[in-house]
């Protein structure tokens, strides 16, 4: 069982465009989850899903220096603390994004049950809801 999830993705956008997209509350809200967020160490952020039955994510910013962003990631009302790190690398015309989500092993036993139950409809709904929301936003423009 993987305890740390790592993802890499190259975007055809400048490093600052990506940095803004992952640190600016308005931008985070547009593509990810409705965010009360500031890229300041110690800031206690909240990510809310636009869908019902999706738990909020809460945490604290641990590091926010261009181009590294780290925060704790806690599913509200569950005790497990995990950590998410975003790192950006300038590739000239593109930007490479590294994402690391560690501490997944903390979701065991009763915590896993609590977490599972807290999602009811499951994350698929939360994400699909977000995609629908984005499509509507785009069409509305």
């Amino acid at each position: 069982m993987n305890k740390t999830i790592t993802k890499e993705k190259v975007f055809n956008h400048s490093i600052d465009q990506i940095w803004n997209a992952i640190t600016n509350a308005e931008e985070i809200s547009a593509w990810f989850l409705k965010a009360d967020f500031k890229a300041e160490v110690g800031y206690k952020y909240v990510f809310n899903s636009s869908e019902k039955n999706c738990s909020a994510i809460i945490g604290e910013v641990l590091e926010a220096n261009p181009y590294t962003l780290t925060y704790t990631w806690i599913v509200k009302d569950t005790p497990a603390i995990t950590k998410v790190t975003w790192k950006l690398e300038n590739l000239g015309n593109a930007t490479k994004l590294y994402l690391e989500h560690s501490g997944i092993e903390n979701y065991v036993g009763d915590t896993a049950i609590a977490m599972f139950e807290s999602f009811n409809g499951g994350w698929d709904n939360c994400i699909n809801g977000l995609s629908t929301y984005l499509k509507e936003e785009v069409n509305a423009r």
């Binding site: 069982m1 999830i5 993705k9 956008h13 989500h101 049950i113 995609s131």
Partner: protein, 109 residues
């Protein structure tokens, strides 16, 4: 589905049950309740209680042989747990795709 996975998590949340399950996995043959209680220095009632929870979760199967009941491990349901634990991997894939779409839309705007 949710009931099943909740039963699975409850079954594997307890360290003694994990140990019993592990003992059954590595055993070369099915074990009786008596053999398990001897190995774990537990009462038959205690073992029976744990086995029932493991059995409900589908992790332990039972077979009757005369007066004895034998237990053997069935690890197949664990795949479900593993699949579920991997859900963050899918979550981040979907989220990064959303980020990509967002940036493309923004660029076009």
């Amino acid at each position: 589905m949710q009931d099943n996975i909740t039963k699975l998590f409850k079954a594997i949340a307890d360290p003694t049950r994990r140990d019993i399950f592990h003992a059954l996995v590595i055993a070369t043959s099915a074990l009786s309740i008596t053999q398990i209680s001897n190995q774990f220095l537990m009462t038959r009632q205690g073992v029976t209680k744990h086995i029932k929870i493991l059995n409900d979760a589908g992790l332990v199967q039972m077979k009757e042989d005369g007066r004895n009941r034998f237990c053997f491990a069935d690890p197949k349901p664990l795949k479900e747990v593993n699949k579920w634990m991997q859900f963050y991997a899918q979550f981040w894939d979907d989220s990064l795709d959303n980020l990509d779409n967002y940036l493309k839309t923004k660029k076009d705007a």
